[in-house]
């Protein structure tokens, strides 16, 4: 069964303190790994798609990387506005995305 596991569940950082979020997956025939950001009371917002091991994508202070078993979302010098829940997802065998539970990130001034 396709599975997505994210760690840690929650992360608290000081402003400027860099860190990484992890997403491990078990899926046969990966057709992309997706990262989303979700703010409280809102729907997830698309960040990145990665398709092959070794691929990297960047957006402002975020950089996503992919290996054959996991993906990392690196946050460099975070700001309070980066506080959100970060979701990882992979397409399942049929039709839609399987999401992990997410990492709740809090960045304090």
């Amino acid at each position: 069964e396709d599975q997505v596991t994210q760690s840690p569940e929650a992360l608290r950082l000081q402003e400027g303190e860099s860190s990484s979020l992890n997403c491990s997956y078990t899926v046969s025939g990966l057709r992309g790994l997706f990262w989303y950001r979700q703010d409280p009371g809102k729907g997830p917002e698309f960040l990145f798609t990665l398709y092959s091991a070794g691929e990297e994508k960047e957006k402002e202070r975020l950089k996503a990387t992919l290996t054959k078993k996991e993906s990392f979302l690196h946050i460099t010098a975070p700001k309070p506005e980066d506080s959100a829940t970060y979701l990882c997802a992979v397409p399942n065998s049929g039709y839609a995305l399987n999401f992990g539970k997410g990492t709740s990130l809090l960045v304090t001034p």
Binding site: R31, G32, F34, G41, G43, E45, F46, F99
Partner: protein, 113 residues
């Protein structure tokens, strides 16, 4: 900017009422989805559609039903709401061949008393 809209944003209703959650998108996307999300939990797919007159149930069993009569509209209906239906309901859409990049609405937070 994704153009997918859900109404209402919040709904508090009594047990036994019939409710319909609305979802519309203006992007001409073929695929549409309903996910259910409880606090601190992952999103679970409850319904999806590949196009007009196409509807399928997702991984999570749900007592709700959906219809897809027009490309842009994908409403979700609960015939008789119960407290166990209290949750956030998220609608999403994607284009054919987009490798499942989903655009989400802001969600409907449903509370059944």
């Amino acid at each position: 900017e994704a153009d997918i809209y859900q109404t209402p944003r919040y709904l508090v209703i009594g047990t036994g009422k019939k409710i319909t959650l609305e979802c519309s998108q203006t992007m001409g996307h073929d695929k549409m989805y309903w996910y259910q999300q409880d606090p601190g939990m992952e999103l679970h797919l409850i319904h999806y559609s590949y196009g007009v007159n196409s509807t399928e149930k997702g991984d999570l069993s749900s007592e709700s039903t959906v219809s897809r009569i027009r490309t842009e509209h994908f409403p979700l209906t609960l015939e008789s709401a119960r407290p166990s239906h209290t949750s956030q309901y998220l609608c999403a859409s994607s284009n054919r061949g987009s490798n499942e990049k989903l655009f989400f609405g802001s969600g409907t937070q449903l509370s059944v008393l």
